[in-house]
């Protein structure tokens, strides 16, 4: 295990003079570059800071797991999987009765969230009719991989792609453009609408893939989570705001590389990444969600579970068999960092396009809670 890291890396080395501001309450000021004449405020419908340490401290590991499942009910499988593995890494002997079922449930949650973003939130954003059939199909298939693959293949073909998922995944750049221009589906039309959008791409660094995290980086994250409460609301990677989620996972896929050639590293590229992952799941090609654990010391463990939106981290310290300290870092917090993607977009887009561009990017980053974005003059 890596030696105890210097806690000073927990403080951000944000490039701009304005210090990183932890999200407090429900509002988060985004910090565009100092020469930008824009002010961007993101408001979440409910407080992001649920302070799990306050309502888990003193609980047994099993009770903590139950509380987490009730509190974080929408993504309970990912949250409980992260909690269980963190507890195990901390030395609590609990057996996952069916590890393979956990992975299947994680996969089902992942696909459901992608489908909700693509087929509910995106049409709503554009004032179009929502298309719930894909989400319902995934929910009805449960965690049965065969049922998911079969239903995804059929519903994706008919509602989103207009072709088989395998055919879609094999498109080259010209084929992707042709699909965009000609496929008789509302999804293709939405990509058409967002293609060549406001000339503003993301140049933000990406959070490394979970599989590639070193023990040292994980230890540093754990120290930051423990020592700086604000870190879990405004995380950074070695001092940098970064993007996580589908883009870092899939930016190298041929279809996404093709899209970048066509339209740039834009909001639509993130939507395409979700569609690619759904299509891969329909062909049985999507990799299993990554799961990592680290034992950080006596009675202290951390676990990370890859979810649709990026890695979900749980860090737990036990004492005498009860929770002493608990931290959760959700993937949305990386993407809605004050100096993150939205700040960058606000800094590069024309004023008259800023409101639309920032709202489109907020959708593309797929926050796990209702948020509204306000763009104004600084």
């Amino acid at each position: 295990m890596a030696s105890r890291p210097d806690p000073s890396p927990c403080r951000s080395n944000a490039a701009h003079p304005t210090a990183v501001q932890a999200a407090t309450g429900t509002s988060l000021p985004v910090q565009p570059p100092p020469d930008t004449a824009l002010r961007v405020q993101i408001a979440f419908a409910a407080s992001r800071d649920t302070h799990p340490g306050k309502w888990l401290r003193g609980a047994t590991p099993d009770d903590a797991m139950a509380r987490i499942g009730l509190a974080y009910s929408i993504c309970r499988h990912a949250q409980q999987a992260a909690a269980q593995r963190a507890m195990e890494a901390a030395g609590h002997a609990s057996a996952d009765p069916d590890g393979s079922r956990t992975v299947r449930r994680l996969r089902s949650e992942w696909l459901r969230e992608h489908a909700c973003n693509l087929m509910l939130a995106w049409p709503a954003r554009l004032g179009q009719r929502q298309e719930p059939s894909l989400v319902r199909a995934i929910m009805q298939a449960g965690d049965d991989p065969t049922a998911i693959q079969t239903t995804l293949s059929e519903v994706l073909q008919h509602t989103a792609l207009g072709m088989s998922p395998a055919t879609f995944l094999a498109l080259d750049a010209r084929g992707l453009e042709h699909w965009c221009d000609n496929a008789p589906t509302p999804s293709a039309a939405r990509f058409r609408a967002w293609r060549h959008g406001p000339a503003c791409s993301s140049e933000l660094p990406m959070l490394p893939k979970l599989q590639d995290w070193t023990a040292g980086s994980a230890a540093m994250l754990a120290e930051c989570m423990r020592n700086d409460h604000g870190f879990c609301m405004q995380p950074h990677w070695h001092g940098q705001a970064v993007e996580t989620g589908v883009w870092p996972r899939r930016h190298g896929h041929p279809l996404l590389r093709a899209w970048v050639q066509i339209s740039g590293n834009d909001a639509a590229a993130r939507m395409l990444g979700r569609l690619v992952e759904l299509a891969e799941a329909a062909t049985g090609a999507l990799q299993e969600p990554a799961l990592r654990t680290w034992t950080l010391g006596a009675d202290t463990g951390m676990a990370a579970v890859e979810t649709a939106r990026g890695p979900l981290l749980h860090r737990v310290q036990l004492r005498d068999g009860h929770v002493e300290d608990y931290r959760v870092l959700a993937p949305t917090e990386w993407n809605f960092h004050a100096h993150g993607v939205l700040a960058q977009v606000a800094g590069c887009v024309e004023r008259r396009l800023a409101d639309t561009a920032v709202q489109d990017w907020a959708l593309a980053l797929d926050p796990c809670a209702t948020c509204s974005v306000e763009v104004g003059d600084a």
Binding site: H51, W55, I74, R76, A78
Partner: protein, 95 residues
């Protein structure tokens, strides 16, 4: 952070329902769960019903969310909110 909120259907519709949460009315999309009768409990995220809940589960989730709020306001005895398994009595923090 994946915080679904239980809401009870007050006025049912085909695609949307008027729901009550803590005395406040919210319009909720039924696109994922289909038409639901008045009195049904829904788990809602971003104004969309994600699941139909039975009353017992709705009650437990609602109480858990109240427990979080209570903890954030400084309460330390949360046993009433979470209905713990009782596998061992909660150890009260020393401070």
């Amino acid at each position: 952070m994946c915080l679904g909120v239980p809401m009870q259907v007050v006025e049912a519709g085909e695609w949307v329902a008027q729901c009550d949460v803590e005395g406040t009315r919210r319009q909720v999309s039924l696109a994922l769960v289909g038409p639901q009768p008045a009195g049904a409990w829904l788990l809602v995220l971003k104004d969309t019903a994600r699941e139909v809940l039975d009353a017992d589960e709705a009650g437990r989730i609602s109480l858990a969310l109240k427990g979080i709020a209570a903890a954030l306001h400084g309460e330390t005895d949360l046993s009433a909110y979470f209905g713990d398994l009782g596998t061992a009595p909660p150890r009260a923090p020393e401070h």
